[in-house]
């Protein structure tokens, strides 16, 4: 994949996430701080399985190499 492909895909993902989080947060709490808090929470929820998956992949990769 070229850099432009990665850039375009990541751009769409970030825009999509922002729309989702904004709509999740907008009903009644329209402050930027509240939005930022929800965004951070969502990022953490996404980051946890990603970190777990990467750690497991690396562990399997190095175990097979040995």
């Amino acid at each position: 994949m070229k850099k432009i492909d990665w850039f375009f895909s990541l751009f769409l993902i970030i825009i999509g996430l922002t729309c989702l989080l904004f709509s999740a947060n907008a009903f009644g709490h329209e402050s930027l701080l509240s939005f930022g808090r929800t965004f951070f929470k969502a990022c953490m929820w996404v980051a946890c399985p990603v970190i777990l998956f990467v750690s497991l992949s690396l562990w399997f990769h190095y175990r097979n190499k040995r």
Partner: protein, 470 residues
């Protein structure tokens, strides 16, 4: 950004699925919230109507005032219906829009049945209306209407729908970004394969695919690599074959041309010299004939056009015939040609002519590469096979060259002068003929001590008493 067709198809298919799921989910969520709000509204309005009815039934003079005050707090409008069916506003209130009350429902309420319905005014504002009869004996105010505006609910629902649309758009964009990555990653190996096969079609068979996955795509990549390797090997073999064949044909033709020209121009000094040149011309023409004949046989074998005439063969008889044919050659080189044939040799299935040619090739090779000593032909019956071996005490074959001696034009003697002659096709023909007749060829050799070729023919299961030859 390049969009390849397989990626586009894959992405479009997933996106269509995604849109269908999002639309279905959106409609379901919208319906869920609408139902929730409306139920809530109905329950609240019912509760208020029950309270107001209770207050009205008490018959207290202050009840009308209390109802008006509560109505203001609860943001609802209250109407009285008298026994004549006339709708009245509470005392002290200004004239309200009475078009929301339907005559049909009023008749029903006067009959003593509670009613509830949704209606809307000329501006499209929705209202929830509940009517309850009041049990006061002989009262002049037999019913009460509660009209609750649904504007707040409609505003909330509209806001919720907008946010749902935004969520749907977000989910769509998120999915689109992920699908772009996924379809690209999935289609990369397929595109690599397509480029690779294009290269192969243009004759570039050196290229190889680098696919690490072990799934079906990985296996397909391995198959394409194997195909490229096979084609490359075929091309190399064909090149080598044409190069060798042109050399092998040119050598005797050059001899023939040279010596024929010498004779034609009368450049010979004596009859002895003339005889010698004629002898060379004869030998080269014989070699050329052998070469062409061998090539013809090999090409027929490789094309599968060579048909064997299979019959029950007596190997002893074939050995004796072949030995008789090469006896003179062996005697000329002062070699001892010996045979050791066991008595009870079973008949084997094979082609008489081809089997004899196999044996002649082996014997001629043995005599050709042996300067002193002997050549022994042995025919032995073992437990499960008949073994025919040809051993010599010749120059032998280096161990590292043994795997290649059955290849076409492979010669242990690499010198262009070729002391021993031969076409380099003899052993290749032996191997192919023996394979075609269901046998195997083995070879043992030691440099300077000699070589033994063994032809092994397994005994067929359909071997009756008649098949035995004593």
């Amino acid at each position: 950004m390049t969009i390849n067709r397989i990626g586009l198809k894959l992405g479009a298919a997933i996106m269509v699925l995604m849109i269908m799921i999002l639309v279905s989910l959106g409609l379901a969520v919208d319906q869920l919230f609408t139902s929730f709000y409306e139920t809530q509204m109905r329950e609240d309005s019912q509760e208020i109507a029950t309270h107001f009815t209770t207050m009205a039934e008490s018959g207290d003079t202050s009840s009308q005032l209390m109802i008006r005050t509560f109505a203001e707090f609860s943001d609802v409008k209250v109407f009285w219906v008298n026994v004549d069916g006339k709708i009245l506003t509470l005392s002290g209130e200004r004239q309200q829009n009475l078009s929301l009350i339907r005559a049909r429902e009023t008749r029903r309420i006067l009959a003593g049945h509670p009613v509830e319905f949704q209606t809307s005014d000329a501006h499209g504002n929705r209202f929830y209306v509940i009517g309850k009869p009041i049990k006061m004996g002989k009262s002049t105010r037999p019913a009460i209407y509660i009209v609750a505006s649904m504007k707040k609910i409609d505003d909330s629902l509209q806001r919720l729908r907008n946010l749902l649309m935004l969520s749907g758009l977000g989910a769509f964009l998120l999915a689109l970004g992920m699908i772009l990555i996924m379809s690209k990653l999935l289609s990369i190996p397929l595109l690599q394969m397509q480029k690779m096969t294009e290269k192969m079609a243009k004759g570039n068979w050196d290229a190889r695919l680098q696919i690490r996955s072990r799934d079906e795509i990985g296996m397909l990549g391995d198959s394409i690599n194997d195909l490229a390797a096979s084609l490359q090997r075929y091309r190399d073999t064909r090149r080598a074959f044409f190069s060798t064949i042109s050399h092998e044909l040119r050598t005797p033709v050059t001899y023939l041309q040279g010596y024929a020209k010498v004779l034609k121009d009368g450049l010979v000094d004596s009859d002895k010299e003339k005889k010698q040149y004629l002898s060379i011309i004869y030998q080269e023409s014989v070699r050329l004939e052998h070469l062409i004949s061998d090539l013809f046989d090999l090409s027929k074998m490789e094309e599968g056009q060579l048909k064997l005439s299979m019959e029950w063969l007596d190997l002893k008889e074939i050995v004796q015939t072949a030995v008789q044919k090469v006896k003179l050659k062996a005697e000329n080189k002062r070699l001892s040609l010996q045979t050791d044939l066991h008595d009870s040799i079973p008949l084997i299935r094979g082609d008489h002519k081809r089997m004899e040619q196999v044996l002649l090739n082996l014997l001629e090779n043995a005599i050709q590469y042996t300067e002193k000593g002997n050549v022994v032909v042995q025919l032995v019956k073992q437990k499960e096979a008949t073994v025919l071996s040809v051993s010599d005490t010749g120059i032998g074959i280096p161990e590292d060259e043994l795997p290649y001696i059955f290849e076409r034009f492979y010669r242990v003697e690499k010198s262009r002068a070729r002391e021993y002659g031969g076409t380099g096709l003899g052993l290749s023909i032996v191997k192919k003929y023996v394979d075609m007749q269901g046998g195997t060829v083995q070879v043992d050799s030691e440099m300077g001590k000699g070589t033994t070729f063994r032809l092994i023919f397994s005994h067929e299961t359909k071997q009756g008493k008649d098949g035995m030859k004593s």
